[in-house]
């Protein structure tokens, strides 16, 4: 239906029409019992370590929405390009969409130029995008990858700040993880040692932080390829809920069987020819 108060096609991108209404609703709801629904945050521990032949990234798998665990097997290590992976902490939707956009842009670039993208390119694109929105997009990311210039590990904050250090941790459990990393990190570690270090860092985050939990995922990126181990270690506190509540055939035993034949007699028979040319 054509409306006569629309004089221009609406601009694409973010739409701020409902902001006043939302602010007013917040004010109304504070007095009452109900609260506005909280977005799903990843409330996370993510960590990354540079080792001799590549990069090791690790993350837990719990996603929380307020005080409830929303997802027990959340995948926080996102694919960016064949040689770059990214762990995301913060609002779950923001990290998903931002890494998706980054991955699409880098794919277009690789198709245009015929090469694998460099990690600095991914970091710069992310920094521009996040700074443009002044931190309203709550995505804290750890990017790790191997390209022609070597192994790289970067941290990008929600306001667009970058940090380039050999070991990193982010999320609500970062202090606990950083303690382990500070204690045992050495330059040029072997791959297995680095994997154990990241596992221990995530484990301490899971133990000490309410927002992190469940399983540990590890992603190892080397020049030869990527090894995405999901889960690297499952938590001991698995719940034994059944997913399906159907009974297997043969659960109830058959006691008696009685067959009654149904007798029908032919009353009328008509034949209609079908034209199959």
């Amino acid at each position: 239906m054509a409306l006569s108060n629309v004089v221009e096609t609406p601009a694409s991108g973010f739409n701020f029409e409902n902001v006043c209404r939302n602010v007013a609703l917040e004010g109304l709801l504070q007095g009452g019992q109900t609260k506005a629904p909280k977005p799903m945050k990843t409330g996370t521990t993510i960590a990354g370590v540079l080792c001799k032949n590549g990069v090791v990234l690790g993350a837990d798998t719990r996603a929380t929405s307020g005080e409830v665990v929303a997802d027990k097997m959340c995948a926080k290590i996102h694919y960016i390009s064949p040689n770059i992976y990214c762990c995301g902490a913060g609002t779950a939707a923001d990290t998903e969409k931002t890494t998706d956009l980054l991955s699409s842009n880098l794919t277009i670039f690789s198709m245009n130029s015929g090469r694998n993208p460099r990690v600095v390119m991914a970091v710069n694109i992310l920094q521009d995008m996040l700074f443009r929105y002044r931190g309203q997009i709550g995505a804290s990311l750890i990017l790790g990858g191997v390209d022609c210039t070597g192994n790289h590990l970067y941290k990008v904050g929600p306001y667009g700040s970058i940090d380039n250090v050999p070991y990193l941790a982010m999320g609500s459990g970062d202090l606990a993880a950083l303690g382990i990393l500070e204690d045992r990190f050495k330059a040029d570690m072997e791959m297995e040692e680095a994997k154990e270090l990241v596992r221990d860092a995530i484990h301490s985050g899971i133990m000490s932080d309410l927002g992190s939990g469940n399983n540990i995922d590890i992603c190892v990126i080397t020049k030869q390829g990527v090894d995405y181990i999901r889960p690297y270690q499952e938590s001991e506190y698995k719940d034994k809920r059944q997913r399906r509540y159907k009974y297997r055939p043969g659960t109830t035993s058959i006691l008696t069987e009685k067959i009654v034949p149904l007798e029908l007699e032919v009353v009328q028979e008509t034949v209609q020819r079908m034209d199959t040319a």
């Binding site: 239906m1 409306l3 221009e8 096609t9 694409s12 991108g13 973010f14 739409n15 602010v23 002044r134």
Partner: protein
Amino acid sequence: MNTRGLRSQLKDSVPVTGMGQQVGAYGVQDTLRSGFSSVKNELLPSHALELSEKNFQLNQDKMNFSNLRNIQGLHAPLKLQMEYRAARQIQRLPFLQSSHLALDTLKGNDESISFEDILNDPSQSEMVGEPHIMMEYKLGLM
């Protein structure tokens, strides 16, 4: 250039410093089309990003052109702006979907994806404008 369309050209190219107002006849706010007005709503942007997002493309272009002018001289931004102006005219009437293919290729938007391409796609918008009114607004007759 059609002088009747000059006012609409001005509307698009002048950077918006405050919230746009629907001005009707005699310079008074058009209550029939845009509803009752409240001074507070007009003066303050409701969201921190609203103003910066509205002007983002304009500011980027200004910055890029002034950089180009400093590096290569005045001719570079002038030539580019001439091409942009020519490409911008290749579009359908305002209430129809135009692909802006030439303009996108010139600006380099065909090789990148951002939130403008995903959110609020104009071809999927729920509100459709009245063709005559949109044409009048574009020609500056409103």
